[in-house]
């Protein structure tokens, strides 16, 4: 993974060192930096604001209790926090789903961008807008498969059943979608590999 600016990574290491030292302010600083992005993600996955906020709390408390789990050589702090947040949100979603208490999946959510969508992206930071554009340029079937997996926590077989496509087709869509996503990042960020900036 290509290093972002040395400064950004030093900032990451510094705040985590303060957290490891038990500095409460450091958790507040981290929260101020990343909470909106984390809550954006958990809201997209869980829809219910209380569930989404619960997971937000869980994630930051986990960071507070386990600062040693972050390895700077493996990526940025934001990346680590987002991976944590998605993992916990999907676990919560699958648990709600088993009890019949999830919100219902809207298959129409994965669509070609409209004027509304473009207005929505105005609120995204530069990097988010670039990712949104890459996603919107994927063939709709690939985008839908990726979004059902990433935001919906569905497996390849479940996606096949939900969309009515054969399993083999879904596997191909997911694989090709992933490759196109990576190619798209490279094109927009013009780097060997993407990174998440602050």
């Amino acid at each position: 993974m290509k290093e972002p600016s040395g400064e950004a990574r030093t900032d990451d290491t510094r705040v985590m060192r303060r957290i490891a030292a038990g500095e409460g302010d450091a958790l507040g600083d981290l929260y101020d930096l990343y909470a909106s992005r984390v809550l954006g993600l958990t809201t997209r996955i869980l829809a219910d604001p209380e569930e989404a906020q619960d997971v937000l709390q869980d994630v930051f408390l986990h960071v507070w209790r386990n600062p040693s789990h972050y390895a700077p050589d493996r990526g940025s702090l934001l990346t680590w926090v987002l991976i944590l947040a998605r993992s916990r949100a999907i676990d919560r979603l699958r648990s709600l789903r088993r009890r019949g208490r999830d919100r219902q999946v809207d298959l129409s959510e994965c669509q070609i961008p409209s004027a509304e969508d473009l207005e929505r992206t105005a609120g995204l930071r530069q990097e988010g807008r670039a990712v949104y554009r890459v996603l919107s340029e994927l063939p709709p079937d690939q985008r839908q498969a990726l979004e059902l997996a990433y935001f919906g926590g569905y497996t390849q077989t479940e996606i096949a059943t939900l969309t009515g496509a054969p399993l083999g087709t879904v596997k191909t869509r997911l694989r090709q979608g992933l490759m196109k996503l990576r190619d798209g990042y490279r094109a927009y960020f013009n780097r060997e590999e993407p990174f998440a900036a602050h």
């Binding site: 989404a52 408390l61 493996r74 298959l107 129409s108 609120g123 930071r125 990712v131 935001f151 993407p194």
Partner: protein, 256 residues
């Protein structure tokens, strides 16, 4: 299992958490035998996928959440009422057993009638039973969508909602149906949609649900009772909140 291109290609879908069946077994088995290439590929895909998280709008948390977080960190109980955590069955079983015992003692001590104490115990007992059922459904539901014998039945919009459409995924083995529907209109207060099995010409209630805000819905039915005639059709009608034993309202979807 030696590393192969096939296994390496699974890393991206594995990072999505979307592998299942033999693919998942193969990949997890392979990782257990330590493959540095696949571990690196998995980590790289997880990092790349985390960018997808940035493609959705940010949501500013309510101000009190920051306060509660920092108070919790300090070990001070939050001033806001604590959120109910997701109930694990064992926790619920222990808590319910303790509560049942306390209710009985408490009521007798306060000279309430024995009958009232029994009623309260019955309510707690019923709640415990429902959560046991919920857990029993877990395995069933997890396997349902992977059942190769699942039949797909298309439903078409009826006069009450001509623009709506849907399909039923029916597992006769599991005795359950999953409805996937689109363009279901919003309902006035006091009304819900109800799903019906039509078996031997007779409707059997299969559960009630609300349409999602945008009109698309996925809903899992209650089980088809044992001994029911073979299911010929499926229907969705509009009924009073909570549903009714036999259909009374207009039909929105029908197929079979």
């Amino acid at each position: 299992m030696p590393h192969t291109e096939f296994l390496g290609d699974l890393a991206g879908v594995a990072a999505l958490g979307a592998l299942d069946g033999s693919d998942r077994d193969a990949f997890e088995g392979h990782l257990q035998e330590r493959c540095p290439e696949c571990e690196a590929a998995l980590a790289a895909w997880r990092r790349d996928l985390s960018l997808v998280a940035l493609s959705v709008p940010e949501v500013v948390p309510p101000a009190d959440l920051r306060v509660r977080l920092l108070e919790t960190r300090r070990g001070i109980p939050a001033s806001a009422p604590p959120r109910k955590p997701a109930a694990a069955a064992r926790w619920l079983a222990i808590a319910a057993a303790v509560l049942l015992a306390l209710v009985a003692i408490d009521d007798v001590v306060r000279h309430r009638s024995i009958r009232e104490a029994q009623q309260r115990a019955a309510v707690l007992s019923a709640r415990l039973e429902r959560s046991r059922e919920d857990l029993a459904r877990k395995d069933l539901r997890a396997r349902f969508l992977e059942d190769p014998d699942v039949q797909t039945i298309l439903l078409s919009g009826q006069a009450a909602a001509p623009g709506s459409r849907g399909k039923i995924l029916f597992s006769s083995r599991a005795r359950r149906a999953i409805l996937v529907a689109a363009e279901l209109p919003a309902l006035p207060p006091g009304r819900q949609y109800e799903l019906w099995f039509i078996a031997g010409g007779k409707p059997i209630a299969a559960g009630t649900f609300d349409p999602s805000a945008s009109g698309a819905t996925i809903f899992e039915s209650t089980p088809l009772p044992e001994g029911a005639a073979p299911v010929e059709k499926f229907a969705v009608t509009i009924e009073p909140l909570g549903g009714v034993p036999q259909p009374t309202g207009p039909m929105v979807l029908l197929g079979g």
